[in-house]
Amino acid sequence: MIKVHYFGIIAEAAKSEGETISSPGITLKSLIGDLTEKYQLDSYEFQIAVNRKIVKEMDGLELKDGDEIALLPAFSGG
């Protein structure tokens, strides 16, 4: 199982703070592709964190059971 978190404007677009997805062997790139299509996220800018680290390059990253993914719009703390 992969846990996906949504924050800020992305959570608003997805109408959800997160969900659990079961897709054994899925790559990060195709998971994000699926979610972008499902929630129409094309017009949003966001970063992706895998296990609480920002991922700069999605290519070739295969997800495994227990991974924690987050879709993070621009930070605006302070």
């Binding site: 924050f7 959570a11 609480r52 680290k53 987050a70 993070l72 930070f75 605006s76 703390g77 302070g78």
Partner: protein, 142 residues
């Protein structure tokens, strides 16, 4: 793991208590404090009345730990504290409190500025600007 996130606005009494706690540390000669206060910006004719903060807390806490470590490496500090609100903070209220203490004053300003900028840039916190009519927009840091 030090606690950073507080529910709602940061009270001036909380800040006073933090200051008072340092009076037993007799090696400290200088403190510098940054406070972020919610400003009543006007955006396209609408007035901001509050900011509602959320955060990816697990990642934020890991990042804050790294930021603290890096500040102790860069600057000669006795201690440092970072607090940030979650939930709704009204205009005029404090949402962000950075507190740096050192033996001497030289580096405290720069250390505070570094911490404030690191938190703003690196920590996954999200602010929603709430207007008078409960309309809102997602805040973008400038």
């Amino acid at each position: 793991m030090k606690k950073t996130f507080l529910e709602g606005a940061i009270a001036s009494e909380f800040i006073a208590e933090s200051i008072a706690k340092h009076q037993s540390k007799h090696s400290i000669g200088a403190h510098n404090i940054f406070l972020g206060q919610v400003r009543s910006d006007e955006i396209e004719g609408k007035q901001v009345t509050a900011i509602e903060y959320s955060a990816y807390e697990e990642m934020a806490n890991e990042k804050l730990h790294e930021i603290r470590e890096s500040a102790f490496e860069k600057f000669d500090l006795t201690c440092l504290h970072i607090y940030h609100s979650l939930g709704r903070v009204k205009v005029g209220e404090i949402c962000f409190f950075v507190f740096v203490s050192a033996k001497r004053r030289m580096q405290v300003y720069e250390a505070t500025e570094y911490l404030v900028n690191q938190v703003k840039e690196q920590v996954p916190i999200f602010g929603k600007e709430i207007f008078e009519n409960e309309d809102f927009q997602w805040k973008v840091n400038s």
